[in-house]
Amino acid sequence: MRVFKISASKVAWATDILAGKGKFCVESAEDQTTQFNGSEESPDFEAREEARLLTLVAGGDQHAFAALYRRRSRLIYSLLARMLIQETEAQEVMQDTFVQIWRRAAQFDSARSSPVAWMIMIARGLAVSRLRARSRRMTNHAMYEQELVSLEMEISGHHQIERDDLADACVSALNRLPEEQGRALQLAFFRGWTHEEIARAVGEPLGTVKARIRRGLLTLRKILKDYHG
């Protein structure tokens, strides 16, 4: 049986609201390392809470927005840093992402997607646009190999500031995927390569590449579901 804990961030946020502070107080929350850790809550609770926050953000509630930032900024920043590599660019896109979340919160529909997926899609969309704007990409086999090497270097080169069991589980699941499946998925997801570009680079049929990426996503989905029990 799973026991749900109330995260420290929630307490901090509630205190802020009750105190009626004008500032959002994200910094103080960060200093106390009371950031949200997604693994503490069940996915359903997490989704409901974040959907509620997005509803408040849509109504112009800046405290709710700060709470949302506390909960998801680390996940989104980690993704952007991995995708864009360059720190300054990751920071710019991070800012754009949260401004977009603020503006588009009213468009969020919990019947269509989960809040975290919706936010990740916004962040990833902006990052992919940056990647594509950087240069006209040559989608040949040499570039394919080069991108794969850079992806592997990133994984081995970075040290996590904090341990995160869920992230570890996902990394190990990604590494356990069949080689071609994992490569296609990572290139599509982290580097924004289209299915056609990958198929052209590896010289394999488009359908095969699509099927690989889809299978990879579904395998990781299972890992995430199993993790949450």
């Binding site: 408040l56 849509a58 109504g59 991995r82 800012q95 889809r214 996503l217």
Partner: protein, 426 residues
């Protein structure tokens, strides 16, 4: 090759952000109504979250939040803060609608009662005034009536005007919504038409028919079958090997390839310039009324003057249309544009069987493409490049296509297709 069903493919491309704006809007409209599609997207999105989670954890610098806070604070001033109560209500559409309706009915009932009582009061006060001073006009008296009556009248007038204004505002808002929807739909249709990889269908009606008869004749069954077979071939369901172009007596003519009872003529093969020359020569001969038997031998002896006659004819199709020598009935021809090619279907309802046919297309710069062939017993599908340099789509320039034929009996005719008739359906 492994392939995945189209719904799953679209869902995958959606979650990976590979759909263009039009595709994404279309997909999202399907997503609203399809539970199955939502489930597919949900599965893949969970996978997306898992992949994103597989990034090494990094903490964002504090300055980022400060920048976000500043950017958002500016917008927060303009963002309407909706009270939580109403926000909660807005999420339950039916309940909100029912509450609004009830409120409106109560208001209507209340307003009606007030209106009735005000009218009764007004009539009463008028009667009193008329009784007191029967020589003065009642309206004048009403204006000079006690302050309470004046207030009621003013209130009634104000209320009715406000209602009218609100109704008008509602109508304007409805019209604006409709206009917005129509504009979006139009933009979507236009973007679809501009996509070069789509097949666009045309219902070509010759100029004289289009001008004289608003209801062009229906397509013959043979023509319908020919277009269907051509499409099947286009989609790769039938063999696609092109037929040869033979040179006979200095003139180029295409030999048909027969598939499923339909002859296929490909006028793209060979040298385009030669084909144009060939078509012009043949057309020239036909216009000069020479017999089909003389065509091949006379082709090489075309004089420059005759060439210039054809050029001027090409530029003034309407005048030549009036001088056509024979025509059974003005035809309707099915056609479609696929990539850089125009595909048209002809049969004996268009030109007599055994006729020598010259088919020429023109683009905005008067560049000509085309060629000649003999119409057999089968319906015939002809593929022609859209323009000599492949750059200008013929059918959108206002010019178009000319079909000239000479039947075995010596009957000749010319059809001009300078504008599109009916709608084009992408």
């Amino acid at each position: 090759m492994v392939d995945i069903p189209s719904n799953e493919d679209a869902a995958l491309r959606y979650v990976l952000g590979e759909l263009n704006d039009t595709e994404r809007r279309e997909f999202e409209s399907r997503l609203v109504v399809s539970v199955e599609l939502r489930a597919l997207v949900n599965e893949l999105e969970t996978g997306v979250v898992a992949v994103a989670t597989a990034s090494p954890r990094r903490r964002p610098p504090v300055e980022i939040w400060q920048r976000i806070e500043k950017a958002v604070a500016k917008e927060a001033k303009t963002k309407l803060k909706v009270p939580r109560f109403w926000f909660g209500w807005s999420r339950y559409g039916w309940a909100t609608a029912a509450a609004c309706l009830t409120g409106w009915l109560l208001y209507a009932f209340w307003a009606n009662q007030r209106y009735a009582s005000t009218l009764a009061q007004l009539k009463l006060s008028q009667r009193e005034i008329v009784t007191a001073n029967s020589t003065a006009p009642p309206i004048h008296d009403a204006v000079k009536s006690p302050a309470s009556a004046n207030t009621n009248i003013a209130f009634e007038l104000l209320q009715s005007r406000t209602q009218e204004i609100n109704e008008l505002r509602g109508r304007i808002a409805q019209l604006e919504t409709k206009t917005g929807q129509l504009l979006r739909s139009l933009a979507q249709q236009q973007s679809l038409l501009n996509e070069s990889n789509r097949i666009k269908f045309y219902h070509l009606v010759s100029d004289s028919t289009a001008n004289n008869n608003p209801n062009p004749p229906p397509l013959s069954p043979g023509l319908q079958r020919a277009v269907s077979t051509a499409l099947a071939r286009e989609l790769g369901w039938l063999p696609t090997a092109s037929q040869s172009v033979e040179q006979t007596g200095g003139n180029l003519s295409a030999t048909p390839m027969t598939i499923a009872g339909v002859d296929f003529i490909d006028l793209r093969t060979g040298n385009n310039q030669q084909q144009v020359q060939s078509s012009i020569q043949s057309q020239n001969q036909l216009q000069l009324g020479q017999s089909a038997a003389d065509n091949n031998t006379a082709a090489a002896q075309i004089q420059p003057q005759a060439q210039s006659q054809v050029d001027s004819q090409a530029q003034q199709p309407q005048s030549v249309a009036a001088s056509q020598t024979a025509s059974t009935s003005q035809p309707t021809i099915p056609a479609y544009v696929s990539g850089d090619n125009l595909v048209v279907a002809l049969d004996s309802t268009v030109v007599p069987t055994g006729s020598s046919v010259v088919l020429t297309t023109y683009d905005a710069n008067q560049n000509e493409t085309g060629g000649s062939f003999i119409l057999g017993n089968n319906p015939t599908v002809v593929t022609i490049p859209l323009s000599a340099d492949g750059s200008t789509p013929v059918l959108t320039t206002g010019l178009g296509m000319v079909i000239t034929f000479t039947s075995p009996a010596g009957q000749t005719g010319t059809y001009y297709f300078s504008q599109l008739s009916q709608s084009q359906t992408p």
